[in-house]
Symmetry: C2
Subunit: 400 residues, 2 copies
């Protein structure tokens, strides 16, 4: 079937044609997508209470328009990664019902009973099971797609299957390159510009560390990573956690996913400095965030180790000291990646509503500078930290 | 054309059928291959003084036999790599005249006026231009196939083109795994066995460092590497240097090729301890080897830097301190890989004639232990060395 951009009517016809609804079903279809890249429809048959999501890739970047073309190939990467995640971490990803790579559509479970985690966190919503859930998701997806578990043959096939050039390029540019100089793609709060020009862009050491992390992103094929695991790619409630939007998936540095989660929690943590909520409420929520960050990391390591003990295949995984050395590298890398993510969300192309929700540009700037300074300190000191508690202790000392 | 194993007559018919010789040429064809994996024919037409080499892959490992199957796919990797090397380092590789992936043959320049470098070095032959040549080969092939020069799109295509699972697996097992324990594949001098059992295999720190290097080999996609650049993969004379046998090529850690060259020079250096030649001749040849090692590394760095200054594309390559940090990692990795190569050639599956030419097993054992101890020291101290001279100084102190 030749690609065409679907509207509501086409979506309804299609879901019936592939047997997901009966031919005479009375459907209600709504476009709901607010992502950067795609269109998303929810299709419902009220009579039987059934609903599902149809996601279609457009041949350009949705937020920018046709001037930024992007092939619809990305749906293949998204669906391939989602299928692997469904096997490794079924509980934490949407069910996939159907895919059509020609039309660039994936039809999957409707998760609208859950909210986007980013929106919840902006409203001080707590997710008591999130640390438990995301640590399992990370430990299982990152361990079971690494050389620790896969044979080198399986691993190399996976590398070949996920040569995701276009989407990797977006990360290479927008996360690791453009925020470190006055690039056209940057989206800069005018009040922040003087700080960037006079301070932030004049830090050769910071740029050097970011360059090393970019190089890791370009050359380290450790695990199949989600590739965009921020709080806007996660649906959650008090009971459930679902990671989606895997079009950035490729075989890259394992710590990138871990760092993205931590970086997004830290952005939310600092963002309260610019908000009007009662100090005791902020204090309480921040304390929840700090506990969450510690738990996410520590549980991740605990579960990754358990997978290792149970299922590591390669003989080198049994060598005394190897696990410790492996996890130590991963920890330092995760902190580095967390820092790069915090930085890119301040003045790169795509921001977080956690901070951009602060309407007063001067106040927003103050928060942005706090986040940039915190990120810088984490990046520059990452090889000196040994535990996640040492990092969160630093956060508490600097911003409270 | 369906694959079949060629004999002399089939080779002659084939080279005529593709127009490399005229239909009525009187050809003389000889099988000359002494490699581990393939058959090699030299075809000559004496009347016009023309000759060429036909290399055909067998569907199994030649030295082991049909019990170790290996797909003929490897010819594709070899020819693809050779084509890239021909563009980047034409002077230092054989000319390729014809390829047929179905028959798994490559027809190339006859280099029999040159000798195998390994054989020459066993006879104390000096190669006054080798350091100049191989450093250019390494700097050009490793720089121009890295992210420093290629766009991430070109680089990722290259990764996909060189998913060389089978041959990588051989290196993973035979270089990085089996020599560190009593594996069946090892080929052990019986006199050396007690040392291995009582000393060498009881070194957890050494195994840990080897494991880290194996992991780099598995996960670092830095450059298109030759993958098997020992002195048996190089034809040379006083004037010429030609690197061949690229079937192990894949996108891996750049330092692996550099380390293989250095490791093979060090094996030859130590091997003289077990030989009968006059001490002053040994001293002179060893002094030549030390100078060569220093020159190879220093010229490589100088030329790699020059390529970087001239042609580095990625903006991160301009960041202050990045080049220094990049080269420092590469140096330490090269030393680590040199050490693994020295170790695998002592008691792994494939040995070097430099040492196995010592017929007295007790004398051979003494040399093997010297090499294993030197390799261990280089491996364990690699992060403390800053210049190649510091390494060769250690060699001179230990073995003279």
């Amino acid at each position: 079937m030749k690609y065409f951009q679907m509207n509501e009517a086409a979506v309804e016809e299609y879901v019936k044609s592939v047997g997901l609804f009966s031919a005479d079903a009375e459907l209600v279809t709504k476009e709901v997508g607010d992502g950067n890249l795609n269109v998303v429809f929810i299709v419902k048959e009220d009579k039987i209470g059934k609903s599902l999501v149809v996601k279609q890739a457009l041949p350009y970047v949705r937020v920018v328009g046709e001037s930024w073309p992007l092939t619809i190939e990305r749906t293949k990467f998204e669906a391939n990664a989602l299928e692997i995640h469904s096997k490794l971490a079924e509980e934490f990803v949407p069910k996939i019902y159907h895919r059509n790579d020609d039309l660039a559509i994936i039809i999957m479970e409707d998760l609208s009973h859950l909210g986007l985690m980013r929106h919840g966190m902006i409203q001080m919503k707590k997710y008591p099971k999130f640390a438990e859930h995301i640590s399992t998701f990370l430990a299982d997806t990152l361990f079971y797609t690494s050389d620790l578990y896969l044979s080198s043959e399986e691993k190399k096939k996976m590398i070949a299957q996920f040569i995701n050039t276009e989407l990797c390029k977006i990360t290479e540019d927008l996360v690791f390159t453009d925020p470190y100089f006055d690039a056209e793609s940057n989206n800069i709060n005018p009040n922040l510009r003087p700080y960037l020009e006079e301070v932030f862009w004049k830090k050769p050491q910071l740029r050097l560390e970011a360059a090393k992390l970019k190089y890791k992103f370009l050359t380290e094929t450790q695990s199949l990573i989600h590739g965009d695991l921020h709080t806007g790619s996660i649906f959650a409630s008090e009971e459930e956690t679902k990671a989606f939007d895997t079009e950035f998936a490729f075989v890259g540095p394992s710590a990138f996913d871990v760092g993205k989660v931590i970086g997004n929690f830290l952005i939310n943590y600092v963002s309260w400095s610019g908000k009007e909520d009662a100090p005791e409420k902020i204090k309480d929520y921040r304390s929840y965030l700090i506990t969450s960050i510690n738990d996410i990391y520590n549980l991740f390591v605990k579960k990754f180790k358990a997978n290792w003990e149970k299922d590591a295949k390669d003989i080198i995984t049994k060598i005394e000291g190897y696990q410790e050395s492996y996890l130590d590298y991963m920890f330092k890398d995760a902190l580095g990646f967390a820092a790069t993510v915090m930085i890119r969300r301040m003045h790169g192309l795509a921001h977080n509503l956690d901070v951009d929700g602060i309407e007063d540009l001067e106040k927003r700037k103050e928060v942005q500078i706090q986040i940039l300074e915190l990120a810088e300190e984490i990046m520059m000191k990452r090889n000196q930290f040994n535990t996640i508690e040492e990092v969160t202790e630093l956060v508490l000392q600097k911003i409270n």
